[in-house]
């Protein structure tokens, strides 16, 4: 009896070890295969030029349109989402702090929204665009991605704000501060490190998403100069290039994938760095 139970424990510990290693290895494998395939056709031209005529037949040009398009879109959407997400997160945690029932309901609803796939947002936005008679544009893409990242952003702000002790709120109120002063001048400042991480992660979500922008931002070879022009995005650029039968174009799809992966890795590193850096400005209790 004793022996079998020991063998069982051994067996499962080995399995656990392997499954943990499997996860680490699959990340390595993903990054390695993208780097291995993408590096050969990485060039300065690729990063700094727009697609020229014949780009999709393997001629010269680059993916600057998609890189810039993605950044415009993600920056726009992140800023717009912050405009709504920060007030909502503060409202739930400062104004409604005592109303547990309603805050739980709001959190539940946000969790539900968090799970809705981005293609549903894309289809919805496309439906609205048909109804209004507008064409694909950077602005439509930004609004769609904003809707999609709002729940993600609020919930991750919310997790940060939950850690605020009641004592901090009570002491600011007792000094005569209004609710909004408490929210923006005290609570928000206290939570800046966590907020920066959340914002960067939402930005990563926005820049990596393809399904929501497919219908709404469109695709173009030129760099958008205004909000009502269509905009190319990196994920879609990768997708279109990969579906080409021409080997040179396929090779460039891998390079574009490498560019996107590097951007995402950089965001994740920045998020860690900033959250450490601003950690020291916090008031300790």
């Amino acid at each position: 009896m004793r022996k079998t139970s020991r063998i069982e424990e051994r067996f499962f510990r080995v399995l656990m070890f392997f499954s943990t290693a499997f996860i680490a290895i699959s990340l390595l494998l993903i990054v390695f295969s993208i780097v291995y395939k993408g590096l050969p056709s990485l060039s300065w031209e690729m990063l700094t030029q727009e697609p020229k005529g014949g780009f999709y037949f393997g001629k010269e040009g680059g993916i600057l349109n998609a890189i810039l398009g993605s950044f415009y879109l993600a920056i726009g959407a992140t800023l717009l989402a912050m405009l709504i997400a920060i007030p909502v997160a503060l409202f739930i945690n400062v104004h409604l702090r005592k109303y547990k029932k309603s805050t739980n309901f709001i959190r539940f609803l946000l969790d539900l929204m968090w799970g809705v796939p981005s293609i549903v947002y894309g289809a919805f936005a496309f439906g609205v665009m048909i109804y209004l008679g507008v064409r694909t544009s950077l602005l439509a893409g930004i609004i769609t991605v904003t809707l999609f990242i709002i729940p993600i952003m609020i919930r991750s702000f919310d997790e940060v704000l939950k850690t605020i002790p009641n004592g901090l709120l009570e002491s600011t109120f007792s000094l005569g501060a209004t609710l909004s002063e408490t929210s923006y001048r005290v609570v928000l400042r206290q939570c800046i490190p966590g907020f920066i991480t959340s914002i960067l992660l939402s930005f990563g979500r926005a820049i990596g998403d393809a399904a929501a922008v497919m219908f709404t931002a469109g695709f173009t070879d030129s760099i958008p100069t205004s909000l009502n022009q269509p905009a190319a995005t990196l994920p879609l650029s990768i997708f279109f290039q990969l579906s080409s039968p021409i080997p040179e174009v396929k090779a460039r799809a891998y390079t574009s994938a490498l560019v996107l992966t590097v951007i995402i890795l950089l965001i994740s590193i920045f998020a860690r760095y900033f959250s450490r850096k601003y950690e020291k400005n916090k008031i300790r209790f």
Binding site: F22, I23, A24, Y121, G208
Partner: protein
Amino acid sequence: MGVLTISRQVRNRLHGSWMLISLIFVVLLPFLLGTGLYIKSANLLSNHSISSLLFSTEWKPISGKFGLWPFILSSLWVTILAVLFAVPICLLTSLHITQYAKRWVLSLMHPIIDILAGIPSVIYGVWGVLIVVPFVADYIAPLFGKTISGYSILAGAIVLAIMIIPFMLNILMEIFKTIPEELTEASLALGATRWQTIKKVILRKAFPGIVSAIGLGLSRAFGETIAVMMVVGNVTRIPYGTLQPGYPLPALIANNYGEMMSIPLYDSALMLAALVLFVIVLFFNFASRMAIVRLEKNL
């Protein structure tokens, strides 16, 4: 002084009302999504019965036949298979990380999980095309004596499994962390080994949580679009096996948005597909979240 207080009050009011407006907007968003999709698909629903649309296997947009069943079935195949692959790995790893792992393993695994969770869907798709599709074509299919291109439900499920692993893993780790320390300590003090404690105390106590983590993973997998679309083959047919190509619902919507304006009712049909997706995902999410809320209450 008086002016100052008034302006402070006004500012407080302004901030407060903007907060309230934003909150109302956010709370209304899901209902807006649902009704918007419903209105858009109402055209089709007024001509056909809902059951004939959902369960008919005929998809011929030109002759006005919009049976979604092949797509729903493909989605189910890919999703369920992916969850079957992912669940054992997630369970074992989350137990390892929360119960056994040393500090250095923790500090290594946390960034790895975060990065995996942050990698965009399309990158997983590229990886799938590079590694998983050839793997399925060259190694798995010959085992069953078949020659295929590799673009199949199995390839989609493998890619999807890797994608939902970080997501489910995070939820499972959270759930195992909520199990009170006293319980495991009591069990260990009674002479049970770590593994016996895991089996008899932790897994039993966390069971509802595990089920809901699976539900959340399922709903996440169901809506995944671009990565699956890149490796699954996209052939409109009822899939009979895992080595055959499939055509999941999200891929259907994403692939056809370009041409949907030229054929009557086509856009309605795609909006209906989006609505079906929305309802299924919401249902799984709702059930799982409810289970988690219950679990937290009982602890």
